[in-house]
């Protein structure tokens, strides 16, 4: 009979309407700015640059290798390499980025920059309320704005950060041992070529997911 389904539907919506006043469990809406759902640990929004220690300019892990710039699908990263060198996390003298800009308004949060970074220098942040009044300048973040301490990384992604720290400590120990061996060898023999910096090949951050 025509109209039967309509009547059933009307009863269902009426039940929803009245039920939402009686049973608060029906209303699943979270009143967002006041109430917030807890973020999952693997939450990722936009990249930031990790630095160790107190001084962000000295402790920046990034060596300006420009791999992330080349890999970035929407091309939102802009890097200018420095001309001089400074010691990196492992203690080896490296280049550093003179300019490191990310256009947050273009970034699509794909995390490819994080995956390809051989130095664990770029990681994903969890901050998402980034609205500004200037959509051109306000969302083009430079090095100073992007740099965040390692502690911040520990706060937002503890498991992942611990793993990264462990790996970096291992590498540093390995490098130290190598340097020591080299020094000993140097003391006894003519100097060999400098050992290549062991790249942590494919050191996946996704292992925490």
């Amino acid at each position: 009979m025509l109209g039967e389904g309509i009547a059933k539907g009307l009863i269902e919506t009426a039940r929803n309407f009245l039920g939402s006043y009686v049973n608060k469990d029906r209303l699943t809406t979270v009143q967002y700015p006041e109430e917030r759902l807890p973020q999952a640990e693997a939450t990722r929004d936009f990249p930031f640059l990790v630095y160790d220690g107190e001084d962000w300019q000295a402790g920046l892990r990034c060596v300006g290798c420009q791999i992330c710039e080349k890999e970035c699908p929407p091309k939102c990263i802009f890097i200018e390499k420095s001309t001089d060198k400074k010691p990196d996390a492992v203690g080896k003298p490296q280049f550093y980025p003179a300019v490191f800009n990310i256009d947050i308004s273009v970034c699509m949060s794909c995390q490819i920059c994080v995956k390809v970074c051989p130095f664990d220098a770029i990681k994903m942040d969890t901050a998402f309320e980034l609205s500004t009044y200037d959509r051109f300048g306000g969302l083009l973040w430079d090095k100073a704005k992007l740099a965040k301490p390692n502690q911040h990384y520990h706060e937002i992604h503890p498991t992942e950060a611990a793993e990264v720290d462990g790996r970096l400590a291992d590498e540093r120990a390995k490098a130290d041992a190598k340097a020591k061996a080299a020094a000993e060898a140097k003391a006894s023999a003519p100097p060999p070529a400098t050992p290549p910096a062991a790249p942590p090949a494919n050191s996946g951050v996704s292992s925490t997911s």
């Binding site: 009979m1 025509l2 109209g3 309509i6 539907g9 009307l10 269902e12 919506t13 009426a14 929803n16 309407f17 039920g19 939402s20 006043y21 029906r26 209303l27 699943t28 809406t29």
Partner: protein, 403 residues
């Protein structure tokens, strides 16, 4: 020729509440010079109509958003004011301060005139709508005809909007809207013809007056007759289609053609379209109340002390709530379903309903008349409905161009 007859100033106290607006109007008009009095009276009524129905528009937007929210187990707007009650004001300020964008290739003049014409047409039809006893702007002899004539101007406005925007979606939306409005205007007018047949008048006021009185506690509204009930249902379905509301909101179809004919409108002009649409809905509900639900008459004999305009607006609110409820329930139709429904169900039902009304008119009162009329309504409904169900649902849809 205002219906506010200047000599009916004698009233007892229960009537005073009923006629309060009429009395106030007379009092104000009485201070003006004699030559200006008719003009001032009309002006006051126009201001009252624009203000009253504008306010109702504001109330309806918040009611609709809240109601739809609750139907979908959401809160709806609850930020501005007490439980979101000031949301319409925020919306109004927002749309008034927005940038007015006109497409570069648009026909600027027609683009500008379309929303104005729509709102003008939407407001004009209120001139013949009796919102209370002695509360009608003009009691036209051909009131119902006036309503439908002005209502058909909306189609022109919709076409102007869709064509002048130079946007294929808006043109598609306009064509859909016009096709739908023309198709559903036929059953709309045919279903109201039954009432015109029964009352022998096209004047809205005399149609309402014919529905006064009670048998026992049952009022003499036309909805309480078999043909009146069928006519009311047909009228409301056609009215839903005429005012482009869900489930007949194909012209707007935001998932396919984004917003139909007003896609290229922004800011204040968009607000005008929105206003025009809601005003059209109120007007056509008002006409349904006038034709079938007894206009300003009280539903029960012992409630006649309540002012007449309150009854009208109570009925109007009920119909608005029904519109919102249906919108929250039914999904949008497909174009072929829409047209099938109009021509293969609504039109034959409306024509048969005319015959039912004639049979009712010429048979002597009694249970036999009721029985015959009910059979005349129910049997075609079942047959046509079955036809719709099977033809509409089981047939595989043939795509002509998408092979």
């Amino acid at each position: 020729m205002t219906a506010l007859s200047y000599n009916s100033l004698h009233h007892s106290s229960p009537q005073a509440a009923d006629q309060i607006f009429v009395i106030v109007q007379h009092w104000i008009v009485g201070h003006a010079p004699v030559g200006l009095q008719p003009l001032l009276a009309i002006l006051l009524s126009v201001v009252a109509i624009v203000g009253g129905f504008g306010l109702l528009f504001a109330i309806t937007t918040i009611l609709e958003r809240k109601g739809l929210g609750r139907i979908q187990n959401r809160y709806g707007p609850n930020r501005v004011g007490f439980f979101g009650s000031l949301q319409p004001i925020a919306d109004a300020i927002k749309s008034l301060t927005k940038e007015d964008i006109v497409p570069q290739t648009a026909d600027k003049l027609v683009h500008l005139l379309a929303p104005i014409l729509l709102v003008l047409a939407a407001f004009s039809v209120y001139a013949v709508l009796p919102v209370g006893r002695n509360m009608v702007l003009v009691n036209l002899d051909a009131g119902v005809l006036f309503f439908f004539a002005i209502g058909s101007v909306t189609e022109v406005a919709v076409f102007m909007a869709g064509w002048s925007s130079r946007n294929k979606y808006s043109l598609l939306g306009a064509m859909r809207a016009i096709a739908q409005m023309i198709s559903y205007e036929v059953p709309l007018i045919l279903s109201s013809l039954t009432v015109i047949m029964a009352t022998g008048s096209l004047s809205t006021v005399s149609i309402v007056e014919k529905q006064a009185g009670y048998t026992g506690i049952l009022p003499h509204w036309f909805i309480f007759t078999p043909w009146g009930f069928a006519g009311f249902v047909l009228f409301m379905i056609a009215a839903t289609a005429e005012s482009n509301r869900s489930p007949f909101d194909l012209p707007e179809g935001e998932s396919e053609i984004i917003a139909g004919y007003y896609i290229e409108y922004s800011g204040f002009k968009f607000a005008l379209f929105f206003l025009g649409e809601y005003l059209g809905m109120f007007a056509i509900s008002g006409l349904a109340i006038t034709l079938f639900l007894g206009g300003w008459n009280a539903p029960l004999p012992f409630l006649t002390w309540v002012p007449s305009y309150l009854w009208f607006f109570a009925k109007l609110l009920t119909l608005i709530v029904a519109f919102i409820w249906v919108r929250g329930t039914l999904p949008r139709l497909r174009m072929d379903q829409l047209m099938n429904f109009a021509w293969k169900f609504m039109l034959p039902m409306a024509l048969l309903n005319l015959i039912t009304a004639a049979v009712w008119h010429f048979m002597p009162a009694g249970p036999v008349r009721w029985l015959v009329s009910i059979v005349l309504v129910v049997v075609p409904y079942t047959v046509l409905g079955r036809n719709q169900m099977h033809k509409g649902h089981l047939e595989k849809r043939v795509y002509r161009f998408a092979e």
